[in-house]
Symmetry: C2
Subunit: 338 residues, 2 copies
């Protein structure tokens, strides 16, 4: 039985794509658990100084400006580290704007990061994959488990490019494990939301747009009949999953990390309205033409039981609690958008 456990206390961690929602939350989690150092590596094309401003003066945090497309940057950043969390990626909306850059970062960027981990003899890599590896459209329904195939029929090109690039990223981890013995855990994140929310992910953006409309006294918009499923995960739960993936004896495995339960679009809008202190009834509108929307087909649930079995992790923060925290952050000074 392999023991690929990498304890947090006393060890150094590199977070590639660290100036981000998940990166900053995970940095805080690792520092709180005694990490000797956390190195945040980012080119700040999507990441922002703002996302890590609250950590900037932490004595055990180091910020490195570098690019995943430049292997030398990563080789140097990984020096002396024991573990690396690979977050840097284009998501669907940015993949749609720039498929050349997106495929570079999501594929070659992962190869470069794995190569830097190998060359520096890191003990463990955690790779941020996505439930996008199950695809989109009517085929995606019921319980999504780790062996569910990738459905792409009828989905927009950028969504398929994103999902396929994550499938490739996972396989590159497997390949480095087989060839070089590099231990890794793949976490298939569902849509992340929480404090220090960014404005790039299609589904998380919808929460913000809904809340903004309610605050302006406008009716929130529901696309279609509102029965479409979303399955979010709270950022703090993911930060804990990342930490536990390092700490766990597990290696060479991929598991879903989703929130406690899925929610329909209509339920989500009603919950945001309630947490905002009330507001007008939602308006049902058709899908916007030309906009990349990730429509799910039937009702689905992203099963996270395997993550509990393998890592001992399960999500703790439900949508009500998580949205409450997100809204409190919006309303604080920190949540003000530039």
């Amino acid at each position: 039985m392999p023991d690929a456990a990498l304890p947090i206390a006393g060890h150094r961690f590199l977070i590639v794509g660290g100036a981000s929602l998940v990166g900053s939350a995970t940095a805080g989690e690792l520092l709180d658990h005694g990490a000797a150092e956390v190195v945040l590596f980012d080119n700040f094309s999507f990441g922002s100084e703002q996302a890590v401003a609250h950590l900037r003066d932490h004595p055990r945090l180091r910020l490195i400006r570098g690019d995943v497309m430049r292997l030398p940057d990563l080789l140097r950043a990984a020096e002396g580290c024991h573990g690396a969390l690979l977050l840097a990626a284009y998501m669907t909306l940015s993949m749609d704007r720039d498929p050349w850059g997106g495929l570079d970062v999501n594929i070659r960027g992962v190869q470069n990061a794995l190569e830097a981990a190998r060359a520096n003899r890191l003990r463990k890599v955690v790779f941020a994959s996505s439930n996008a590896v199950y695809g989109y459209g009517p085929g995606v329904s019921g319980e999504l488990v780790e062996t569910t195939p990738f459905h792409s029929h009828g989905a927009p090109p950028a969504a398929i490019l994103y999902g396929a690039s994550k499938i490739i990223g996972e396989q590159l981890c497997r390949d480095y494990h087989r060839r070089h013995g590099l231990d890794y855990v793949v976490l298939r994140y569902s849509t992340v939301y929480g404090e220090r929310q960014h404005y790039r992910a299609a589904n998380a953006l919808y929460i913000i747009e809904t809340y903004d409309r309610i605050r302006r006294g406008e009716r929130p918009q529901v696309f279609g009949d509102g029965s479409e499923t979303k399955h979010f995960v709270y950022v703090g739960d993911l930060a804990r999953a990342n930490r536990m993936a390092f700490e766990s004896a597990a290696t060479d495995v991929a598991v879903n990390t989703s929130g406690p339960a899925p929610i329909t679009t209509l339920e989500l809008v009603k919950l945001v309205t309630e947490l905002a202190g009330g507001g007008p009834e939602p308006e049902f509108v058709g899908n916007e033409p030309g906009k990349v929307r990730l429509t799910s087909g039937g009702a689905f649930r992203i099963a996270h039981e395997e993550a509990e079995r393998v890592l001992g992790w399960k999500p703790l923060v439900d949508m009500r609690e998580g949205l409450d925290r997100l809204i409190a952050w919006f309303n604080s000074n920190e949540g003000k958008r530039p």
Copy 2:
């Protein structure tokens, strides 16, 4: 109703990755149908002079040495062309040896070729995809149709990298069609075999190895119980499919191009033995450890009815006829391997 028909007669065609089994057969097919010129573009890393030796002195054929990773090479090669066939790719065995090179060629190489097609205002692109977009393993069974999802659970990394890279190639075609109006047809080839057979594809290689053993008087080897399905397609049928994809009014579509019927490994070995004039009974052996083998799970058939509906194409050469031609070629001077 769009009419994206590009007649062959009087038009110029670029074949990217042209010094190959399918490239040489398609060049012959296009020249026979009156193409004004066929340009074979190849870096000769997999392609060989030998594969196109029979065409070398054709007055309407031009051979260009270039690399899909160098956009300027492709921009120049595509000048004055009306159609392009994109064949250049790493397959699973070469992807296993060199995943960096394979992902470069199968993804960035396709982007470069599409960009060269767009910049030179080509009228139509035919992209050689693969039934690898349906994946591998136990999930792949029954009728494989164009909407079948990608199964990857339990398959070797290189096989998944190959399949996912073809999914990405297809989506890049869709993306160029949406953004730039570039017409295209995706053909999902099943395993190709035929005269001028190369020695790189896992499944086609098996035919050759079997025939070689029989000729040496050795027992041909069957891995497992011999019930594993293969679904080949004869190279001449594919050359015709490529031509008809240009000629067809169809655009923005992906169809399977498989042979008349699947075959089990045991049936294949018996057929090769019979066509070789008899030989010893096959020997059943376990799977070789460490070798990339593409095991299919249950029995499957790659449906080609959609190709007939969309392109008017159906396969004409069955395994007995195709293997007979392949063996005749082996036995001729041309088939002698260096």
